[in-house]
Subunit: 327 residues, 2 copies
């Protein structure tokens, strides 16, 4: 099986590539070649599997056709510019997040006209497709009324994926990822950054700022769970999806207070003492418009598995990022 | 107020233009110019209002910019290729129904960069945005999982309209039209054709074929109601919409049996005697996947008004198409 990962240099992309190479198989089939693409050339991992890497901008006409010229059996499309950038640069957001996705789907369709071709395509969507009005728990059939251009572009990507799949051009699975926590790396300026920061920084012995009330509730999955969703989407029997190719992934609904309690259970009061309350009206207002919890029973029924406690999410961070121990 | 109608030569477009010229105003403002565009040049109606007509293919790059060069205050975007054609010709459907709409939105956005410009844009969407799973009555927050490329293209148009409106580039209102009945003109091959045919043909003294069971239930509005929706969307206070710019229009849920009973009440048994049952498995299967009824309370609360009985829909056809009397 030949595999292509578009967006391989991002946080989730790198973890996915590591998991693919560690397993050497997807759904029981050996990986015979792995092509990695991103706007900057991804690092070449150490492996016996033939790997190619390339710098490629999917939003440039013709690039999608080059990327799939080797007719990969399985394509992961993770490439996107993030919410804040898509909001700040309207044209760039549409070019990369909408045109890029459409170029990829069109390249696959046109390749199939030359000779039969219908690869599995796993597309990462986002809970940003949901907006007003938001019930406390969002059901699997709730409308998409995104409040960002990023969410709009992801919702359009889902519609295209479903239509191209219905027409038989591709075998698509779209997965709406929860907010990923604990996100490794440095603190960033994303409005959602504190959800990871209040765990990651204290575990590393650093102070973390908390800009919102402890009652704020949100929807989480670990990076490890995100990779698990991708691998399950790559191998699942898509006949069970019918024409509904897009799924809200199972996550864990937790309040900030529950996050902090979990941190105290896992790492003790010296960790939670490093969380400093510094209310930020702007961040509080942005976060107030975000989804709090989902039903996600459809994805659970199809075998997707998320975490069941925030303690588990913290332990996964310690195992996967901190070598299994905290200082 | 300058008004542009794109798709002015279609059935709804012609009726809209006639209504605009008869009123001479929209929302209390005098129409000072009316520009009509379609893929074939619309007829020039007799009026004292300055009217221009042009043949224009919105899906050609640059055409949208030409159409809005006069900076119309109000734009009706009705242009689309229909469901059957969008399914038969995949590329043409996406080019006209998706690219055309996007070109229009982009032309408006770019015009606003040169000098402030934020026209009202009324976009006709469709109940074809809804697909599996379908509840008996579809609520105002139900997801869009279209089962046709046409429905996909309309759902994408809705998302773009909402995002461009949220960003302040346009003042958009998207209206999901019910199935229009009684559609004037000749019988056609559309799977939905019989819904109008079993009324229109008997009223004209001709036989009509009924391919489905009388229990089949669907969602209707008259051509007159459709024009009313467009005019209300053109004049309404869009502040009440918030960021949810798209609305399911109020219609009337009726079974085929209820349609026939209404025809008998309005035109007697000699009309209904002209309906000949000729079951068609293919049409029955297509229609079985269609929406049956909607809540539409949001649009009703915002002042959109549809019919309340199928008798009324038949009487409107007799008034508007048959000169007020049946033979």
């Amino acid at each position: 099986m030949k595999v292509l990962v578009i967006g391989a240099a991002g946080m989730v992309g790198r973890k996915l590539v590591a998991a693919l190479l560690a397993a050497g198989t997807v759904g029981g089939q050996a990986i015979t070649g792995l092509a990695l693409a991103d706007v900057i050339a991804p690092e070449v991992p150490a492996t016996t599997i033939p790997v190619t890497t390339q710098a490629a901008d999917l939003s440039m006409p013709g690039v999608a056709g080059q990327l799939i010229a080797g007719r990969p059996d399985l394509i992961f499309h993770l490439a996107a510019i993030v919410s804040g950038e898509a909001e700040a640069d309207f044209e760039k957001g549409y070019r990369i997040n909408l045109d890029g996705t459409r170029y990829l789907l069109e390249a696959i369709r046109l390749a199939g006209q030359a000779a039969p071709y219908r690869p599995r395509l796993v597309f990462t969507s986002s809970i940003a497709v949901f907006g007003e009005p938001l019930p406390d728990v969002i059901g699997d059939t709730h409308e998409h009324t995104p409040l960002t251009s990023y969410g709009t572009q992801k919702a359009i990507g889902e519609l295209l994926l479903a239509d191209y799949s219905r027409r038989g051009f591709v075998d698509g699975v779209g997965i709406r990822l929860p907010t990923i926590a604990v996100r490794p790396g440095k603190p960033n300026k994303a409005a959602s950054g504190f959800f990871s920061g209040i765990i990651r920084e204290p575990l590393a012995g650093h102070e973390a700022l908390l800009p919102v009330a402890e009652t704020v509730r949100h929807w989480f999955a670990s990076p490890r769970a995100a990779v698990g969703f991708l691998l399950h989407a790559a191998a699942m029997d898509t006949a069970a999806l019918g024409n509904q190719r897009n799924l809200t992934m199972p996550g864990l609904a937790a309040t900030v207070g529950e996050q902090i309690a979990a941190l105290e259970r896992v790492a003790g009061p010296k960790a939670t003492a490093l969380i400093r309350r510094q209310p930020d009206e702007t961040i509080a207002r942005i976060v107030a418009g975000w989804p709090q919890a989902f039903d996600a029973s459809r994805a659970r029924g199809l075998g997707f598995v998320g975490e069941t406690s925030f303690d588990e999410i913290i332990r996964i961070h310690i195992e996967d990022e901190l070598g299994g121990a905290i200082s």
